[in-house]
């Protein structure tokens, strides 16, 4: 049994992993960059050390991370997501150093993390893939022949990575060669891997994924689906489960195939199969697999009542937890490889970006941070007043997740929870996402990955009368004598602007 765990990550996921590890009674340790000494997950660590060097690079340095974990006497390493989570060399280095890697084997990362290989594995397991060819195209001529065989429009995709880089939609023969050369160059630059392959392009698609767990010995279960179509430039902003527009028969088929595919390769730990579903259709196509815990895993936890980090640790200890065993086979449909689920959950990602300025990152100190609470609300976050958003890392401040007996209740709770979310003066996506979930396409569930480009979600274009009451009160505070306001109200100097305003 694992007694101690090293968290090879930072931010909200490091805190979330630390919570389960502490709850299980483990000895918890981690290492932090010079920019991250104040992060809250360190308070839940028993031991920690600093990773010296460029804060932008230290979490990617395999040898120093492995050395830190060894120095702190960890028996297992949790990679979180991002950074080294899907790096087979890291997984191998952890294992070579005599520790357990809380994720799949290095071979599984290679076989399932590469998109072309993953397509082949899906085909072997009978999982439908997007019409296309499961081979990297050697040159533009081969790409053209394949595209003509599939029929335009087609999608060029990098085999070695994601996030939209190396990706091109091509509408006709004339643009193919140029697009192929650009995609190849982009893939080479981004992933050091120029391979590009071709799939049919699905113009209006939903992005739906299946959470699976494998015990590493040929057993796998699926824990429901997540609808992740609310995206901005391939970055998910809202995820929900169940998928609002897919009938249970479809998600059961998807889930059963995903579990079968994972079982076929003796998959170890948590993973996600991503599918696209043509808008309005019931067919689905496997696109790729993520061989790690996802940002949006709390949606699945709220519906299933399971703790996915606990399951990752349980699998490393030999098999699924007794909690999962008890829930297994009790899914909402007929599938015997699923688990009991309840209600509906929606996650909103609170990101330090300014939605009014094309999602420009917003860095600096947070003076005020207030997260929501109460019935049906879960918050996983790292942001606290006094901490700063640094430019070195992704700008996710936290996740506000609402659960309800049904989708309407979950939406209403999320709306209130986002209203109760205050971050100042850093910009965040909280108010923008309230507008998204208030939109008609989101309410009806009839949305696809084009939602955010189609919606016109303007911020308020008028100054509400309420603003005047706050400003008048603020101005009054400056003129009133401090002693009539009580000791709590600090007298602060007016800025030149305001001072001039009041003259």
């Amino acid at each position: 049994m694992i007694q101690s765990i090293f968290i090879a990550n930072r931010g909200e996921i490091a805190l979330r992993i630390a919570r389960t590890a502490r709850r299980l009674g483990l000895h918890v340790c981690s290492a932090f960059s010079s920019a991250d000494a104040g992060l809250p997950h360190l308070r839940l660590c028993h031991r920690a050390l600093e990773l010296p060097g460029d804060p932008a690079r230290v979490y990617l340095d395999i040898s120093s991370i492995v050395a830190a974990a060894k120095k702190l006497k960890a028996e297992a390493v949790h990679p979180g997501y991002g950074f080294l989570a899907e790096n087979e060399d890291f997984a191998a280095a952890v294992q070579d150093a005599g520790m357990k890697f809380l994720g799949p084997t290095p071979d599984q990362i290679v076989a399932l993390g590469d998109k072309v290989q993953a397509r082949k594995a899906a085909e072997r397991a009978g999982v439908p893939t997007v019409p296309g060819k499961s081979e990297a195209m050697p040159d533009a001529a081969a790409a053209l022949a394949t595209a003509q065989a599939i029929g335009f429009p087609v999608l060029l995709k990098a085999a070695g990575g994601g996030g939209g880089r190396g990706m091109r939609v091509v509408d006709d023969v004339a643009h193919l060669a140029d697009a192929f050369n650009r995609a190849t160059a982009e893939a080479k630059a981004a992933f050091d891997d120029p391979r590009v392959f071709i799939e049919k392009y699905v113009a209006r698609a939903r992005h739906v994924e299946i959470q699976i767990l494998g015990d590493g010995h040929g057993q796998a279960v699926w824990l429901g689906e997540r609808e992740c179509s609310v995206q901005r430039r391939h970055q998910k902003l809202i995820e929900e489960s169940p998928a609002p527009a897919l009938p249970l028969e479809v998600t059961e088929k998807m889930g059963t195939l995903a579990a079968k595919m994972a079982a076929a390769v003796n998959y170890r730990g948590a993973g996600t199969m991503e599918f696209i579903v043509p808008f309005g259709g019931r067919e689905f196509y496997f696109i790729e697999m993520n061989t790690r815990l996802q940002v949006e895993h709390p949606v699945t936890e709220l519906c299933t009542g399971l703790d996915l980090v606990e399951e990752q640790i349980a699998v490393a200890n030999g098999g699924f937890s007794k909690r999962l065993q008890a829930a297994r086979g009790k899914g909402p449909g007929v599938s015997s490889d699923s688990v009991a689920r309840r209600g509906h959950a929606i996650e909103a990602r609170i990101i330090a970006e300014d939605p009014e300025a094309n999602f420009r990152p917003s860095c600096g100190q947070m003076d005020l941070v207030s997260w929501p609470a109460g019935p049906g609300v879960r918050v996983d976050s790292w942001a606290e007043a006094g901490l700063s958003v640094s430019p070195y890392y992704d700008s996710l401040l936290g996740k506000v997740v609402a659960w309800g007996s049904d989708r309407a209740e979950a939406i209403a709770r999320l709306d209130l929870a986002l209203l109760e979310t205050s971050i100042h003066p850093i910009r965040s996506t909280a108010a923008f996402l309230r507008r998204v979930i208030a939109s008609e396409p989101f309410r009806s569930g009839a949305y696809d990955t084009g939602l955010l480009t189609q919606l016109k979600l303007a911020p308020p274009a008028v100054l509400a009368p309420e603003l005047a009451a706050l400003i008048a009160a603020e101005t009054q505070l400056q003129t009133a004598r401090v002693d009539t306001l009580g000791p709590r109200f600090e007298s602060r100097e007016l800025s030149a602007w305001v001072r001039s305003a009041r003259s």
């Binding site: 003076d367 205050s422 009368p465 309420e466 009451a469 706050l470 009160a473 709590r488 305003a501």
Partner: protein, 171 residues
């Protein structure tokens, strides 16, 4: 006595908001005037007020360019000015700099505490010309534009009414 204020957004497309303020009572077009009471104020900017019976909460802090107001997660960069000063500035800004005289008037009644320039001085936009004591505070009257001082109409110790001429600028 009643004061009138104008709130302007940093986005010029957003219409300014005008309100009046008299002895703690806030008035506005199409809204009934009601007293404003502060329910809570924290050093981090959190502010909850009662305007009549309406509860209004937000976060208000200062930036270099004015106030940053956060209401329900929506951020506004705002400036607030006494209406008369706002009008002078807006008129000036429409007319553009140069070519004429500009009468700097007192936007509030008060006591002239100090006159910091003399006729002929070159002044920069934002430079304090006159200090006026009003509402128990010193209020700096600044030059809205670069120019030179044509004449001075106020002297220290003098009580002035709202609208009284203080300084004439050549701009």
């Amino acid at each position: 006595m009643q004061h009138e204020f104008v709130i302007r957004s940093s986005k010029p497309s957003i219409e300014p908001l005008r309100y009046t303020w008299e002895a703690g009572v806030l008035g506005m077009a199409a809204q009934s005037a009601a007293p404003v009471r502060i329910l809570r104020r924290e050093a981090n900017g959190a502010l909850v007020v009662l305007w009549g019976e309406r509860v209004i909460s937000g976060i208000i802090t200062r930036s270099e360019s004015g106030l940053v107001l956060n209401v329900d997660g929506e951020l506004f960069e705002l400036g607030v000015r006494e209406a008369m000063l706002d009008e002078m500035e807006q008129g000036l800004s429409a007319a553009g700099p140069g070519g004429g005289h500009f009468d700097l008037k007192s936007p509030i009644p008060g006591l002239v505490k100090n006159v910091l320039v003399k006729a002929g001085d070159e002044v920069e936009a934002g430079q304090t010309l006159v200090v006026l004591e009003a509402m128990k505070m010193e209020n700096e009257i600044t030059a809205p534009h670069k120019g030179s001082v044509d004449s001075i109409a106020a002297k220290p110790g003098q009580a002035v009414a709202a609208g009284a001429l203080l300084v004439v600028l050549k701009v």
